[in-house]
């Protein structure tokens, strides 16, 4: 018993050492000088819990049985790590931004914080992981047995039972002590992570030590070793392509989906930069772990008697060579592999079980749940501790019941394939916004059923659970449902068969059900959040906080986060909102922050439900979301109203400015007019005075007398006309004019207007174009006034049209019951800045061509107003263009 006692002593020392390491790490993290705890190296080493006892012992056995196939288990994860930019980067970012606590939490969060899905994933994870924990217990027991057998008189049967029991108990203790020290999963388990990092070094060192001993100690160097490999039983490359590919895929999938891997890779991740280093360092670690597997297997096959368990070559080869010390190191390596896996798996599973199964049940049982008085923290921690114990008890029971006979590798692969069923929901969830909760449930169900039927149950052996008849002719004689030959496709490797069908049917169900179902609003929001995590790393789902009471939330938060932590959070939020005191307003933003903090302790679904209970909605209701959406819609509407108003104000301001400009211009015009009119009056008066003085002095010939008298007369006429115009305008403006309405023909009116406009001009170059046929309009108006307008427009054209061959077009048309008469010439038109002013009194476009006092168009406008019509300048016609419009029908009515 001596060696065995030494072994137990070494083992206990090692465990004590791990406790000290974990404790020291916790202490230094508490003191705040734990930067090295978050280094990329520790992160990389913590990932090594992928390499369990299965890897440590089983890989050699695997290699001894089927050659290089064992490498697939390492190649898959290496590819995933090397391709970190694709998937892991996104997973880690999502995990950090959504405060994900486990893979069940991730999947449930993604699909609308569905607790059904979380429970489902949790149960699957427990089913998939329990055999694996049993496997670790078995491997520790087996390795103990190896030492015991080398001792005469050791009672191996008793040892078998007690070893597993004590190991399970010790692990439970360690996990509970360091795994549930702090409640918030996102605060991370520094002690545990540090301990498994140390264990990672120990197991790598142990395997390398045995490998070096085998290659250089037993085989005499690399060259000889390679020769020995070539001549061994597994000397030739014999690989089924299907298994090679399927196993690489399977291990890659499991690497992403295993709850314990998710725990160390995503949940315990402190810094995204660590992933970058691990992306190459972890493949390097895996490479080293697998480097000496084949040499050990080959030497084991060579040295040890036939029938020796190849799974234990790592131990038995050194023992057979008399290297007890090396064997102890190797034992510690295996022990490390087993314990680190069990610890992390237990933490991951207990988080899931407590957050998604125990807490919801507790909340439901205690009625009001979150409003119930008492410290929820204690409940959460207790439930987590009980879950850890429960998981380990399950593993122990499985070990006891299964008898621990099956080859290690097989259990490992069955477990891998089980958790790989999460893959479609996981990858679909983070890359495809169309993935729905229904789809995820359908995929998981189908995958799980197929896995159980085609892999798990047959794994117990034909005739154990499934009768042999089922394997031969299918259940109830349905041939195409034979568990190892679906759809009648025979001859496939059972493993490849199970992986192929479970994953493909799972993906198909996931895809089709997602296509056919419709996600609820929360699902869609979360979906967008997950898929586009790099665009906006914040939670879109928010509460309408009107009904929530800050105080209630405070009470609840204190019970989950602890009083000090909760008060600090509330105070910080209150400060952020600019409020004195510790109670912030229950704004959606605050509730979001609070919910996320709580999610770190109890999982997203539970946290959401708890906040929901206090905020008012008994559960996560669509109404809440719609309220948020409404709020957003109202905000948008309000802002668009503001926008409209501001645009209106801008428009008004512009109009005012324009009006002001016009006023200024008018005032300038008036000033200009006064000087103009004085000038206009003065010029004829001056000549009249001068000529009348000449006439008064006498002594003139008749011809001269007549000439001067004519000048005086024409100047007097000019004066009279000016005064007439002014008078006319003032009459029109005061509305004192009386209209002389008669029925007239437009063409007649135009005829007279043209002839009188051009009568006083001797040599008129102006050509007038009109279409007489168009002008067949008879209507009632004041013909004198209207023709005054026409005459004015025509003589304006005659006076001001500066074309080489001036032409005036007169076009007539009817539009909307109005008669439109356009006067368009081919001159240069009226400049834009003057167009607004030409109808004003005293305005003249070109003073140098002054023919009148600028009253003509003002008079025209007044006349048209009296006639219920309009006169406008028509821009863009190639010359000066005026449009006279008259109400045709109304005028007709008046005539009747």
């Amino acid at each position: 018993m001596g060696a065995l006692n030494v072994l137990v002593a070494v083992c206990l020392c090692y465990v004590a050492f791990l406790f000290i390491v974990a404790f020291a790490a916790e202490r230094s993290a508490l003191r705040g000088n734990g930067a090295w705890l978050r280094s990329p190296l520790v992160y990389t080493l913590s990932l090594s819990i992928y390499c369990t006892a299965w890897t440590f012992y089983g890989a050699v056995g695997y290699a001894a049985r089927s050659g290089l196939e064992y490498l697939t288990i390492y190649i898959g994860p290496s590819l995933v790590m090397i391709g970190w930019w694709w998937i892991l980067r996104k997973l880690v970012r999502i995990g950090r931004s959504q405060r994900i606590t486990s893979i069940a939490d991730l999947i449930s969060s993604r699909y609308g914080k569905s607790n059904t899905l979380a429970i489902f994933v949790t149960i699957l994870a427990v089913i998939g992981t329990t055999p694996y924990i049993a496997l670790q217990l078995q491997s520790v027991t087996l390795s103990f047995n190896v030492f015991a057998q080398s001792q005469a008189g050791a009672d191996t049967d008793v040892l078998r039972e007690t070893t597993a029991f004590w190991v399970a108990l010790g692990l439970a203790l360690f996990t509970i002590l360091f795994g549930t020290r702090n409640l918030d999963v996102n605060e991370r388990h520094h002690g545990v992570v540090m301990a498994i990092a140390v264990e990672a070094v120990v197991k790598l060192f142990a395997l390398l030590a045995v490998g070096v001993f085998v290659v250089w100690g037993l085989s005499g160097g690399v060259g000889n070793m390679l020769d020995r490999i070539e001549t061994s039983e597994i000397g030739m490359w014999q690989m089924q392509g299907g298994r090679w590919v399927s196993l690489i895929f399977l291990s890659a999938a499991a690497f992403l989906c295993l709850p314990r891997m998710f725990q160390v890779m995503v949940v315990e991740n402190e810094n995204e930069g660590n992933l970058r280093t691990a992306s190459w360092a972890f493949p390097a670690y895996l490479m080293l772990m697998s480097l000496f597997v084949v040499p050990i297997a080959v030497v084991g096959l060579d040295v040890l008697p036939k029938g020796a368990n190849p799974d234990l070559f790592v131990l038995t080869v050194p023992l057979a060579s008399g290297q007890e010390g090396l064997a102890v190191i190797s034992f510690l390596g295996g022990f490390s592999s087993a314990t680190s896996m069990v610890i992390v798996a237990a933490i991951a599973l207990s988080t899931m079980v407590s957050n998604h199964v125990v807490m919801p049940i507790w909340l439901a049982v205690t009625g009001h749940g979150a409003s119930f008085s008492g410290d929820v923290r204690k409940v959460v921690i207790l439930s987590r501790r009980l879950s850890i114990a429960g998981v380990l008890i399950l593993g122990y029971l499985y070990y006891r019941l299964s008898g621990g006979g099956t080859a290690l590798a097989l259990i490992g692969l069955i477990s891998f394939a089980g958790v790989a069923q999460f893959l479609p929901a996981l990858i679909g969830g983070i890359f495809w916004r169309g993935a729905t909760r229904t789809g995820a449930l359908a995929g998981l169900t189908v995958g799980f059923v197929v896995w159980t039927y085609a892999m798990l149950l047959p794994g117990f052996g034909q005739g154990t659970i499934l009768p042999t008849s089922v394997f031969e002719s299918g259940p109830f004689g349905i041939g195409w449902l034979r568990p190892q030959a679906f759809f009648g496709i025979q001859g496939m490797d059972p493993l490849v068969h199970a992986i192929l069908w479970s994953i493909s049917l799972n993906s198909a169900a996931f895809f089709v059900a997602s296509l056919l179902s419709f996600p609820n609003p929360l699902e869609r929001l979360q979906g967008a959040q997950f898929v586009n995590v790099f665009d906006h790393s914040q939670n879109p789902q928010s509460w309408s906080g009107g009904m929530a009471q800050s105080e209630d939330l405070m009470i609840m938060a204190q019970r989950i986060l602890g009083a000090r932590e909760a008060q600090r959070l509330f105070e910080r939020e209150a400060k952020r909102q600019g409020i004195q005191g510790v109670l912030p307003e229950t704004t959606p933003e605050f509730l979001q922050v609070l919910e996320r903090e709580l999610a770190g302790s109890v999982g997203a679904a539970t946290a959401h439900a708890m906040v929901g209970q206090i905020v008012g909605g008994a559960s996560v209701s669509v109404r809440d979301l719609m309220a948020v959406a409404d709020e957003t819609a109202q905000m948008m509407e309000y802002s668009s109203q503001l926008e409209t108003k501001s645009a209106e104000l801008t428009r008004t301001a512009r109009q005012l400015r324009l009006a002001n400009e016009k006023l200024m211009q008018v005032s300038h015009q008036k000033d200009a007019f006064l000087s103009q009119i004085s000038h206009e009056l003065r010029t004829p008066m001056t000549s009249i005075r001068a000529f009348s003085e000449i006439l008064r002095e006498g002594g003139l010939s008749d011809a001269e007398q007549e000439k001067y008298a004519t000048v005086i007369h024409s100047e007097a006429i000019r004066l009279t006309r000016l005064l007439d115009d002014l008078l006319d305008l003032s009459v029109l403006e005061n509305g004192q004019v009386s209209l002389n309405l008669r029925k007239v023909q437009l063409s007649d009116l135009l005829d007279t207007a043209i002839s009188s406009a051009l009568s006083g001009v001797q040599t008129s170059l102006l050509k007038i174009r009109r279409d007489q046929a168009q002008e067949k309009y008879a209507f009632t108006t004041d013909p004198d006034r209207l023709s005054q307008v026409f005459i004015n427009l025509i003589s304006n054209a005659q006076k001001y049209c500066d074309g080489d061959r001036p032409v005036l077009r007169i076009e007539t048309m009817e539009q909307d019951g109005r008669l439109l008469v356009d006067f368009i010439d081919n001159g240069s038109g009226i400049p834009r800045e003057s167009q607004d002013l030409i109808f004003e009194k005293f305005s003249r476009v070109s003073p140098q061509k002054a023919g009148g006092a600028g009253l003509g168009l003002a008079i025209c406008r007044e006349i048209m107003v009296r006639l219920k019509g309009e006169i406008n300048y028509l821009p863009g016609q190639g010359g000066a263009a005026f449009r006279v419009s008259l109400p045709l029908r109304q005028v007709n009515e008046n005539a009747e």
Partner: protein, 88 residues
């Protein structure tokens, strides 16, 4: 002061950065391809590939991937530290 030469340099920098990320994306595919090549080897016990050779090949691929991965992640790390936003 912005002169044209500086601008060209910055754009070229951005271009290199994108190609670097392309490299990072392609690396796992290269690995998958190289590790899938053994599928083409003969499984004939007489004329096939010996396990020793297979080990050398597979571990050589591994070393290459680790080396390249380390190089790329070092370069990406330098980029991420200097400019976080442009990478995402």
């Amino acid at each position: 002061m912005k002169n044209p030469g500086k601008r060209v340099f910055v754009e070229r920098d951005g271009y290199r950065r994108r190609r670097l990320l392309d490299c990072l994306r392609v690396l796992p595919m290269l690995g998958a391809f190289l590790w899938a090549l053994p599928l083409l080897w003969s499984s004939d016990p007489q004329a096939g590939v010996s396990t020793a050779d297979a080990i050398l090949y597979i571990f050589a691929v591994w070393c290459c991937l680790v080396g390249l991965g380390a190089l790329l992640s070092y370069k990406v790390g330098a980029l991420q530290d200097s400019d976080r936003d442009s990478l995402e």
